[in-house]
Amino acid sequence: MIQFGPAHVIYILEAVRWTVVLSLVAFAGGAVLGLLLALARVSRSILLRAFSAAYIQTVQGTPLLILLFLAYFGLSLLGYRLAPLVAAGLALTLYVGAFLGEIWRGCIQAVPRTQWEASDCLGLNRFQQYAYIILPQAIRIATPPTVGFMVQVVKNTSLASVIGFVELTRAGQIVNNSTFQPLMVFILVAALYFAICYPLSVASRALERKLNVAR
């Protein structure tokens, strides 16, 4: 048995980087997809509305673990062998997109209908209404729940460990397999997740307070 030592700690600390990278990829991809889905959900086209609603329902009803399996093992059966980071990034993007799409739809719809009417009466077209009136107000409403959801995403990246992507959780497993010190190892892993997520939670609460006061 190998003693749990500084080398292990450094190995785990270095894996934090991949958890952060995966979180950022998931968030960037998910934000783009989520915005498109949110706009489609409130569009005038029945087809777009139905498609985005179906997508959101389907993905929200599927465990992230299964999405990861599909992206990694499923696609490789079809001949697309993705690197673990790419597969995990893809699965998380699809997942985050569905949730952000639904959160942001709610925020767009939370802007009072009278804002649409007033800007319509001034002659703004639909694009101008979104760009200058609706989205700037929706973003204020959306900031706290979005930051809150980021915390979930960071923690959910741990599932990528099952397809062999060596992020924080997987690194912990590897170290534990050689040292058999689960308590030490996973307390360290948990503390590192906390160190990433806590600032986000604090930021979320601070934003909420700030935006509430401003309105």
């Binding site: 009278t114 001034l122 002659g123 200058y132």
Partner: protein
Amino acid sequence: MAFDANGAVLAEPQGDAVVKVRDVVKFFGQLKVLDGVSLDVKAGDMVAIIGRSGSGKSTLLRCMNGLEDIQEGKIVICGHEVGYGQSNRADLRRDVGMVFQSYNLFPHLTVQRNITLALTLVKKKSKAEAQRLAEQVLDQVGLADKMLSYPEQLSGGQQQRVAIARSLALSPQVMLFDEVTSALDPELTVEVLRVMEDLAKGGMTMILVTHEMAFAQRVANQVVFMHKGKVWEAGPTRELFSSPKTSEFAQFIGTGL
């Protein structure tokens, strides 16, 4: 204007009517809120639409501006037919301004930007020109010093005056006012009504839905009394108030008949 008690047109519409409403029927689900409404408004008229809550007056105003669809009839404002399709929406918007009960200023923009936004985006004015127009209309409503304030920093009356200025800046042919003082306390109501009275004196064609009977009686030259989704009684203000033809209107203005 000439109507019988059921709102049917007695005389042929005048050629110079800028607003023509013909036999408009509007349903909210099963509920018939407008039941064959017709009326004409001439350029320079100030028409007050009055009536009890639920008589359809606000709905009529919203239909005039295409904010609600109508099921039957026809509305033509400044030569643009309202509703049905988007093709002439921009033309309608160029000629018709609207002010709402709840002001509906854009809370994330300064007073100045509230006014210049449509000037630059829709009317394609230069920044300097939009700025000059904003100063001019704000001065007109007595708020020249509030240029850089945000709506939440203003009183209700000031917000409503900014809303009027915002609409006015686009130099519409017709302005619609939807119970613009209903959310204000009496003190603030006065300052808004004063602005509207100035507009009327300046020759602006105005249609207002209002509960301010004294104001309607003093400033409007035409009054339309709506009841049960119909134009129940309509005509020149003085005539109408001095000799109500229907018991409903008499009751409404409280003279008894």
